[in-house]
Amino acid sequence: MKDVITLKDIAVSFDGETILDGLDLSIHDGEFVTLLGPSGCGKTTTLRIIGGFITPDRGDVFFGDQRVNNVPPHKRQVNTIFQRYALFPHLNVYENVAFGMRVQKKKKAEIAETVEKMLALVNLKGFEKRAVSTLSGGQQQRVAIARALANNPKVLLLDEPLAALDLKLRKDMQVELKNIQKSLGITFVYVTHDQEEALSMSDTVVVMDGGRIQQIGTPTDIYNEPQNAFVADFIGESNILDGVMREDYKVEFFGKEFRCVDFGFEKDEPVDVVVRPEDIDIVEPEKGDLIGRVTNITFKGVHYEIIVDVKGFKWMIQTTDFHAVDSVIGIMIDPQEIQVMKKSEYSGLYGDYSSFSEEFDGLADPEAENGAAQ
């Protein structure tokens, strides 16, 4: 596939604070790429570099083969959907959508035709004469989408476009955006801190933290084969354990050897081991690979979330069966459910649920709390 946008060794800092640090990224034509990470990870800055609103301190930005570092925003063939829509309050819906074409001095008939087409695309037919201030958040977002698409961009940049919408509307818009992207076949670069949004919409997810890319991959890759503790923790819930890779396909943790599907590590290399809470089987204590005591159980609707103490390490397990607090259970893990990762700067920071409580979780991860509240 052809690359429409290439970022090479991009570095940016504001007031001496490093925002992006040696970022390399290629975006393929027609792809839905999501930049995912907590606030302050540099994802919006990356988007603004592509849009032309920030010039990187170091590195190059290419559109196709053309270096565009010094090309101002109005000359770039990309359009942006801003976080707060940024509609023009003095113009009605029609004129907002027509804005880009008016700037380009397109013919009246052509403008009318395109505006009509765009408003139909976002289900806003009949809203032409409405003032944007009379529209709901979801409708304003649709106008913003129509306005950006009316310019016929090669690449559409979306900066947390759904963050201000309520949950139900957000889900609908996710589907709609994905459909628009598919039907128009243009490249979407989407910024979000919502991992669920990223997994459900994207062809490629770019997980970022601390101004660096942590992992690039398909949603399933990112979820099933996280490459470090940060990715494992940020995408879904994870139990992350200290382990030692004894040999290919054999990893040891809690003093016990487990078969796994990973290979290519040094002999006896210390590693991080990830096991997802839904991938753990609960069995009779005597049949388990590990034995633990239930310390907490929370009903989540689809399943229970239980916290199990195994030799001082608190696991999170999702199960459809009820297990009373203080009951002793056995744990079994299939080899393919064990993901082995190289040690990283994030090792030891995440993955133990010993301080787990609903309240603590919210405090430790304000981003997740935001996501839940919206």
């Binding site: 849009g51 309050p89 003095h90 008016r102 409405r130 003032a131 306005r147």
Partner: protein, 288 residues
């Protein structure tokens, strides 16, 4: 609820009645009565009076000419203030919050001083041996006769009323979001296009307020013109003043002049607003 919150405007209502409505009534009364209290149009007619036998014309020798002259100076003052204030207000509105506060303070600073004092200061600055001429002298530019000319009056008016142009402009511009400007750039608008299609239309309310707040007081001002323009020409405010406290007072004509001036200013304001409306309906903008 409505009734109760309406009561909050009562103090202002009483104030308006006592010091605005009643005085306008009195002005109307004086303007349309003679010394005996009989109804008459003589006072209004007097405004347009001139004596052809002495070679006088309507446009040069009647009160009409003074009114037109005042409107002209007011117009010049307003245009110059707008040209100075607009870019300044915009750059203040784009600055950091700290800088904005400081700049707004600096803009208002002169208003803390009595305007008579300020006008006196301008007078000495502009005088033949004043600072301005001394400065120009350094470059070999001969001493300019600015004081006692229209230029001096306009400089004084702009100086006194500029803050009233800057502040309303700033207060609407500060509400124009950075992201709206970025959205316009993103959609292909260059600097001029962003200005013409986003910044200018969004700042129209500020422009209108600024024009009103500068034009009205500069047309009807009186002391500034006497101090800076000398006795050569009077502005309409000076004439009206002389009709009440001068050597040959005639409060009937004075009131008629005040009334005509008021009507003219109202017409000017209405024309400005109409011009704005017709412009904004082009291209279907300003949907309300």
């Amino acid at each position: 609820m409505k009734k109760k919150s309406g009561m909050l405007a009562a103090p202002f209502g009483i104030w308006m009645a006592l010091f605005t409505i009643v005085p306008i009534g009195i002005v109307l009364w004086f303007a349309f009565t003679d010394a005996n209290g009989q109804f008459t149009f003589d006072n209004v007619r007097e405004i347009f009076a001139f004596d052809p036998s002495k070679g006088e014309t309507l446009w040069n020798d009647s009160f009409v000419s003074t009114i037109l002259y005042s409107l002209w100076l007011g117009f010049l003052t307003t245009v110059i203030s707008l040209v100075i204030a607009y870019p300044l207000a915009f750059s203040i509105s784009r600055a950091t919050e700290r800088v904005q506060l400081t700049m707004v303070m600096l803009v208002m600073l002169p208003m803390w001083m009595n305007f008579l004092l300020r006008t006196q200061a301008i007078k000495s600055l502009l005088s033949e041996s004043g600072l301005l001429n001394q400065f120009l002298g350094l470059f070999g530019v001969g001493s300019l006769e600015i004081l006692n000319t229209d230029v001096a009056i306009v400089i004084g008016l702009v100086y006194d009323f500029l803050p009233f142009m800057i502040l309303p402009l700033y207060s609407v511009m500060v509400k124009i979001g950075k992201s709206e400007i970025e959205a316009a750039q993103d959609l292909g608008a260059n600097v001029f296009s962003v200005f013409r299609r986003v910044v200018l239309p969004l700042s129209v309310p500020g422009i209108l307020n600024g024009i009103t707040m500068v034009f009205v007081p500069s047309v009807s001002t009186f002391v500034i013109s006497t101090l800076l323009g000398g006795s050569k020409r009077m502005m309409i405010g000076d004439v009206i003043e002389s009709m009440f406290v001068g050597e040959a007072p005639n409060r009937g004509v004075g009131s008629a002049l005040a009334l005509v001036l008021m009507v003219l200013i109202l017409i000017c304001m209405a024309v400005t607003r109409l011009a704005d409306k017709s412009e904004s309906t082009e291209e279907g903008g300003f949907a309300l």
